[in-house]
Amino acid sequence: MLWQLFLVFMKVGLISFGGGYAVITIIEHEVNLRHWMSASDFQEIVALAGMAPGPIATNSATLIGYRTAGIGGAISSTLGMILPSLIIIIILAACFGRLHHNRFVKSSFYGLRPIVTGLIAYAAIHFGLLSSSEPGLTWSTLATLLICAGCLYGIIRFKMHPLMVILASAAAGVILF
């Protein structure tokens, strides 16, 4: 199990272009494929990962590893997530430091960036719709969307800090649910 977690997150780490929320879509896919946890458990984990400081992707890896296989799982998932970055960066730094100016790299990113955008957008849509386990418009979905809209307003209008967003939405959750 530990080995499997390590390998899965290493794969995720290798393809996690664009980082963070794009990776959530990838991780969710892997988790579903292996039936590691229910959709609502996964949502909880993303909320916890977003609440903690540090990168969301690594945080989610740690939490999923912990849920599925305890402390050892947390360690092996986190290592798996970080190791590809470390190795790739060392190779990049050692061999071709100016790779990002390369013509082919630039044109591949021309196609890659919109894909990453799609992955992030999908994560948002997916979590918005999935916020209730029952189908149809329930109070729980409505309240989640309300909190989401409030936070969006706060971020756009008042440049609310991510930590404030988390705290405010927690408070709103206590009141609304």
Binding site: K11, G13, I15, S16, F17, G20, Y21, A22, Q43, E44, L48, A49, G50, P53, G54, P55, A57, T62, Y66, I82, P84, S85, I89, I90, A93, H100, K106, S108, F109, Y110, G111, L112, R113, P114, I115, T117, G118, L119, I120, A121, A123, A124, I125, F127, S131, S140, T144, L145, I147, C148, C151, I155, I156, P162, V165, I166, S169, A170, G173, F177
Partner: protein, 212 residues
């Protein structure tokens, strides 16, 4: 011999300690870390110049993995080789690892408390808002012509309609980029692989901030 060894030990501890302090103080993920890293590395320690730093940031953003971790690895490597890279990554990852751990443990203790559960449900709404902002910011830099807009929209549609694994989409994206640019060049069209910067930009340095 002794002095170089102790010098090396000093830079090792400095690297580790510097990155240790950055992780816990940044909420909102990788891109939120960059200003903090910049302050420590450029201003406080004078380890590298501003231009060098922004070059590293753009490489760190284009390699797979979180930008914060990548940037730490890169800076660590520049300063002290492979060992420096490992220490920098350990420094940035360890504190948050323990914080996440404590959070998860704390949550499992109070999991059944209705108010805790309600707070976490509320946070889900907040996280969705953060994701939407991230998607919007990413879209602003990524979707700037018809090709990229079409690719972006079809990605979302494919993810919603089919059980396709995102890894294939990423591979398809790489190929589309290479092919589309070649085809456009062949047709004699003007090709921009990135958004042109002629438009009025805000004065603050803009990273494709998608709150990682």
């Amino acid at each position: 011999m002794r002095t170089t060894a102790s010098k090396q030990l000093k830079i090792y501890t400095q690297i580790f300690w510097t990155f240790c302090r950055i992780g816990p103080s940044t909420f909102g993920g990788g891109y939120a870390m960059i200003p903090g890293i910049e302050r420590e590395v450029v201003e406080k320690h004078g380890w590298m110049r501003e231009e060098e730093m922004s070059d590293l940031v753009s490489i760190a953003g284009s390699a797979p993995g979180g930008v914060g971790v990548n940037l730490a690895a890169f800076i660590g490597y520049r300063l002290a080789g492979v060992m420096g890279a490992i220490l920098a990554v350990a420094g940035i990852a360890l504190p948050t690892f323990f914080i996440v751990f404590a959070l998860s443990w704390g949550y499992s203790m109070f999991q059944d408390h209705p108010k805790i559960e309600a707070a976490l449900k509320g946070i889900q709404g907040g996280v969705i808002a953060l994701i939407i902002i991230a998607a919007y910011k990413m879209a602003k830099t990524a979707l700037f012509d018809k090709t990229t807009a079409a690719v972006g929209i079809s990605t979302v549609v494919m993810l919603m309609m089919t059980p396709i694994h995102p890894i294939y989409l990423i591979a398809i994206g790489l190929v589309i980029g290479l092919v589309a640019v070649q085809v456009k060049k062949h047709l004699g069209m003007q090709v921009y692989t990135e958004q042109r910067e002629s438009k009025q930009q805000e004065p603050e340095p803009i990273y494709p901030e998608y709150y990682i």
